[in-house]
Symmetry: C2
Subunit: 328 residues, 2 copies
Amino acid sequence: MATLADVARVAGVTAATVSNVLTGRVAVREETRQKVLAAITQVGYRPNLVARGLAGGKTFTLALLVPSLVNPFFAEVVEEMEAAAAAHDYQLLLALSHGQASTGTRHLERLASRWVDGFIVMGEATTTRDVVALAASGQHVVLSVWGEDPAALTLPSVDIDFARAGEIATQHLIARGHRRIAAIVELPVQQTRLMGYQRALQAAAITVPQAFVQRGDSSFVSGQQAMRTLLAQTPPPTAVFAGNDAMAMGALDVLHDAGVNVPTTLAVVGVDDVLLAEHTSPPLTTIRIPKRELARMAVEMVLASIAAGASSPQRHLLAPTLIVRQST
Amino acid sequence: MATLADVARVAGVTAATVSNVLTGRVAVREETRQKVLAAITQVGYRPNLVARGLAGGKTFTLALLVPSLVNPFFAEVVEEMEAAAAAHDYQLLLALSHGQASTGTRHLERLASRWVDGFIVMGEATTTRDVVALAASGQHVVLSVWGEDPAALTLPSVDIDFARAGEIATQHLIARGHRRIAAIVELPVQQTRLMGYQRALQAAAITVPQAFVQRGDSSFVSGQQAMRTLLAQTPPPTAVFAGNDAMAMGALDVLHDAGVNVPTTLAVVGVDDVLLAEHTSPPLTTIRIPKRELARMAVEMVLASIAAGASSPQRHLLAPTLIVRQST
DNA sequence: TGTCTTGTTTTGAGCGCTTAAAAGTAGTAT
DNA sequence: ATACTACTTTTAAGCGCTCAAAACAAGACA
C-alpha cells in the first residue's frame, strides 16, 4: 500500500505538502497541487486511517452497542443509524450484548481503548453504571431507548415516548366506544406503555378488573396465551391493547380460531407497526414508532457532541403516531 | 487517558518493558512484572488500539458488508457473526449497502484504507469486480451468499445450497403425492432455488404448465398476488413451493381467505424457517437455513486467512434441512 | 539596495505502541 | 580474576500521518 511518502517522492515534494493538499488545512500553490494529485492517482494512494486516527486523535468511527439484531426494531434502527453515520463519513463499530449486560460491559471496555469518537448505547445493552462511567471518563455517549433509570438522566438521550404510545392506543379504543379494555404487556420492559394505558383509562374514569392486565414476553405465543386467558373471563373485554405487534398478532390468531369477529366483537391495537401488521386479517391498528428519526437524532447528537467537544445533556422524547387499520 | 509511558514512569521501568509484560513476547522478571501490573491498575491504563494497530499492522477489526438488516436473514447472520468475532477478540465494522451496489463499492473503498484485517461480504452487497479487486490487492476477503457469478469462484466463500433447498422442498411435496406443483420465486435472486425445484420435478418425470412458475419479490404481498394467479388456473396446482417464508405466508393468507383447505386441497412449503413460520395457520412446512453455521464459518475463514497470511480459496456449501409442519 | 510582506514549502516533533538490536547484570565455568 | 552464558532491560528506530513553527522565495515598498 502506497504511503504519503511515496506520493511525496513521486511528486517531488515533502510529505507535509501532500498532507496539506489532502486536508486543505494549509494553502498549496495550484501547480504543486496538481502535481501531488497526479502522483496520488499514479501510485494509487489511499490514506491510512489508522495512522490518521493516531496522529489526529479522531478515528471517524462510532461505537454502537445494541442488545440484539434479531429484534426487528433494533435491526431497523441500526440500519438507519448506519445510513446516518455514513452520510457524515463515519463508520459504525457494531457491538451486541446478546441480551447480557455483562457482555455489553465487556464490549464497552474494549471500545473505550480510544478506538471510537463516540458511543451510542441502546436498549440497556449494558448497565447504567457503565455508561455513566464512560461519559464521566470524557467519552461522548448518547443513550437511546433507555427506560427510566434516574441515574441516566445526566446523559444525552433520545427516546420514544412509550407512555404516550400506550395512551393514544387506549384513547383510540375509548373513542371507539370501548370501556372494557384489556392490556397485554411485557413487564418490566413495557412498564411505561402500561402506565400510558392506565393514564388514559383514568382520564376517562374507566376502571377495569385487575385480571384485564395480562403479562406476556413480547412473543407471538405469549400473545396467544394472554388472549385465551382474557377470553375466558366473564364478561370478556371488548378491546385489547397489546404492548407490541407480535403479541397483538398472537391475539388476532386466537380470536380468529375462536371465531370472534374483529373488530366488531373485540378490537385489537398493537405497538410497533411492523411490516406484517398491514397484512394480518384484519389489518392491525397499531402505533408507529419513529425509528428513522430516532436513529438520525441519536447519530446527530453524538456527532454534535464530538464536534462541540462536550456533550449537552439534551433529552429528546419522540412521539409515536396512531395508525388506524381494520382491527379497531 | 493513561499511556504506556505513564505506566512505565510509575513502575520505574521503560515503555518497552511494559510492552513486554503486556504482549508476553519477551520474558520479564516476575518482580518487575508485578510492579508493572500494579502500575497499570494504579493509573488505569488501557492500551490504545489505534496506536497498536499502527505499530503492529493489525487492527483486530473485521469489515462486514451486508445489503441490509431489515431482511431478518441478514440480521440473524450478522448477530451470529458478531458473536463469533467477539469470541476471537475481533470487532466488527458494519457497512450496509442498503440494496445499492454503488453504496457497497463506496464503503469498500473507505474500508480498504488499511482499516481492517479482513472482509466478509454478503449477499452481493457490491459488485463481484470490486471484491475480486479487493482480494487481488492483498486483502483477506470471504464471500457469503454470493450467487453464481463465475468471476467470484477464485475467492473463498461460504454459501447455502439453495438449489438443494428447492430440491428437497419439491421432493417432499412429490413424496406427499403431489404432481401439480407450482413455484413462487424472486428472480434472479432465487434462481438456484428454482433450479432445485426443476431438478426435482425432472427426476420424478413431472412436467407442469409454464404458468405454474410465478415471480414474486420475496414480500408477503407478492406471495399473495402470485397465489391468486395460481388459484385462477384450471386446474390449479395442488402444491406450492415458495422461495421464502414471507411469500409462503402471503400464499397461506390468500388460501385462508379463499376457503381453500391447507394442506388437504393445497400444500405449501417455504424457505427460511423464520420465527413466525411456526405460528401461521396451519404452521408452515419450510426449509431451515443453517444461519449460525454460515456465520461462524465465514468468520473462521477470514480469521484463518489472516492468520495464514494468504487465503486458500475454499468454497463451502452448507446444506439446508426440511422442517415438516402442518402446511404439507 | 535593504527591509517587509505575503505566500508556499519544509522541518521536526509527536500521536502511543511494537520490536529488533544493543547494553547491562548477574551467575557459572575456567 | 577473566571470559562466557543466560537473563533482563533499555535504546532507538519506526508504523503513516498531522500540525505548529521555521525557512525560504519573491514581489512590494522605502
